[in-house]
Symmetry: C2
Subunit: 399 residues, 2 copies
């Protein structure tokens, strides 16, 4: 697909094939940019170090040809789903073995891919572990860690409401209205180039201070990327370390990763802790497998089992989740920045716009990583089909 | 030193400790930014891959305490020189063994450091090897590879005059006069942020096309970074590959490097082939050791011996070199973007502003990598002392 598009393939790229900050978030340029974020934005490396790679054994199974019924009642198979969903990569692990791995759109096993909101799930679990270790108190006010937020929506909010996105903050996302807060976030974080004469905030922390309360904290789940940025700020204050260094020391150097990861940063080095992580499909599979095994992998403990059980088994508040306005995720809950399906298999997932997913199915002993550059951002458009595919994969790996 | 400065050490950094594009090129902020270029600028990764690291054996020698006379006639030693020259790292190899290795200013063995014009030496040797392979003709006109340069200084210039910087191009570097070409280069390449209302070129290739001839090609050596950018353009046209991918496939993946390297890119992904490479001290030592061994290292041939002999043994034209206005490098020549000392030991070096150096001394079987963030950019200020230190090191490793 990208070969056909020819984006950024000549020296210099032709005007038609050029991807830069003016179009990198648009389709089809996005098909290139999601694998090349560091070439467009400042970024902070997440080093994996020189420890031996934790080899994932390969036991190929005929997963791609597995037939299932799509959400329209039509017969399809896994390979067709891979193709039709603008996939860049998929890795399926069963009992820790790679049973299916495919790449497209010029992606390679060593290509880091933008994960968007899957980033939140790393921030959330690190915060939950710090809470377990007594370094963050979920019942404390946010201002105990970040006094600068006193005049903002977080001024009277507890850390728990940040972790589970039940804090009430006015943050409108109307992509046709540049006065809504999503634009302020995109400019301050460097995701979008500054418009001429811009006088607003130029880093994430300064922007967060401007956001105001709307509603009651704890009343219901409302999905807001800015909560993840605040949570990351709390994590850095509690540890006195940069998020990228924590990711490297606590996760990337321990799991026997194959490649460095990296995170986008704003103009003063603040990581986009809610949207900016980039990593390879295989390294994400290692992370998912560590979760499936209860927090241990490669001979190392990464998270306490109690932290994972509190997140994935207990899960979040399913009643409060209904307030979030995501009917396509009916029955789900959200806790520590993870999505729990509350299905018979006890599945849970991390998700990012344009098709980024880690899906863990404990009953099927399966981990799926799927990375894509789908032209439609939100999961609402594809999620019914995604759920069909998860069910098909859980059958396919067991056959 | 950096610990004392406290640059970028809190979340967010205080105003006094903040490093961003407005001050990252200034002292003391530069002491931080030379190890954090990717956090400030878009960059293109140079992957080292998963091959085993080529371990450099360690045989410590009392190099640091070796006493010598400095350029003012005063007694000093290697450790004092390290400290007084704002060093971030030094690695000294003797017969392939690390005999002395030191870091300061928060640099670690795994920290990539900006190399400035040492970048040129990589571009130059890759071009020389392509010439050896018959893929670039040094006697051809530049326009055979880059017809876009027809209306510029390079329109009637031969490739050889680009490789050895004997082409005549008007490129003034007056740091107090923004009408001189160095500003256009800094803006187009993204090294400096664009001033308000900027209407000039926004990428390197477009900027190169604007430069005009001044004088006669081949008459004398005149050091111009833009020649290296043109040479990199020729290399990419001859190979149809991005400079960073060539660096990864031909050098970084073969030498058993410990860490990925990376290169700064402009707004459309063009690498700064004359100034933007970042790498660790140890990986640069591996590169230098490969050169000292005649092009082989880690069981792999990287460059033909004929290419290295043509560069380092034959060297450039010492008469033409005199036109370059570098009396502190008396007796030197420049060929394929390397500096040859033409001393009794047959030494040669790569060099970048603010104290970046690979120095190879074949007679002493020694390779020195020294990286620094010296407040003075040009080598003229420090070179007399540097030459003293090279001589002292050549004695020290042999004792």
């Amino acid at each position: 697909m990208l070969d056909k598009l020819g984006l950024m393939s000549t020296f210099p790229p032709t005007d038609a094939q050029r991807v830069d900050l003016s179009n990198s978030h648009k389709y089809p340029q996005m098909r290139w940019s999601l694998q090349h974020v560091a070439e467009l934005h400042p970024s902070h490396n997440i080093r994996h170090g020189n420890a031996p790679v934790a080899v994932l054994p390969v036991t190929n199974k005929p997963i791609g040809s597995f037939v299932f019924e799509d959400d329209k009642g039509k017969k399809t198979n896994i390979d067709e789903w891979f193709n039709s969903s603008y996939s860049d990569a998929i890795v399926v692990l069963h009992k820790g073995h790679i049973v299916y791995e495919r790449y497209d759109n010029q992606m390679k096993p060593w290509s880091p891919h933008l994960l968007f909101s899957m980033t939140k799930s790393f921030t959330g679990l690190m915060a939950a572990q710090l809470a377990q270790d007594g370094k963050i108190d979920p019942n404390a006010l946010v201002t105990q860690y970040v006094p600068e937020l006193a005049g903002s929506a977080w001024g009277d909010m507890k850390v728990r409401d940040v972790m589970d996105m039940t804090g009430a903050v006015r943050f409108r996302e109307v992509y046709t209205d540049p006065t809504t807060e999503i634009f302020g976030y995109s400019w301050a974080s460097g995701m979008l180039p500054l418009p001429p004469g811009y006088l607003g905030k130029t880093n994430i922390y300064d922007f967060l201070k401007t956001l105001q309360k709307e509603g009651e904290h704890g009343a219901g789940f409302v999905y807001r990327t800015v909560h993840s940025e605040v949570l990351g700020w709390i994590v850095s204050r509690a540890t006195n370390k940069h998020w990228a260094d924590l990711m490297s020391e606590n996760i990337w150097q321990k799991l026997g990763m194959e490649e460095d990861a990296y995170v986008m940063v704003d103009s003063v080095g603040t990581p986009l802790q809610g949207a900016g992580l980039n990593a390879t499909a295989r390294d994400l599979a290692r992370f998912g497998e560590m979760l499936r095994r209860g927090g241990e992998f490669n001979g190392k403990r990464i998270f306490d089992k109690a932290v994972l059980d509190d997140t994935f088994v207990k899960g979040g508040d399913r009643e409060k989740f209904k307030a979030g306005g995501m009917p396509f995720r009916a029955g789900y809950s959200y806790r520590n920045q993870w999505w729990m399906l509350h299905n018979a298999d006890g599945a849970y997932e991390a998700a990012g716009i344009h098709g980024q997913m880690i899906h863990v199915n404990p009953a099927a002993e399966m981990v799926v990583v799927k990375l894509a550059s789908h032209p439609v951002a939100g999961a609402g458009f594809t999620h019914a089909m995604t759920l069909r595919a998860w069910a098909a994969l859980a059958q396919a790996v067991r056959q």
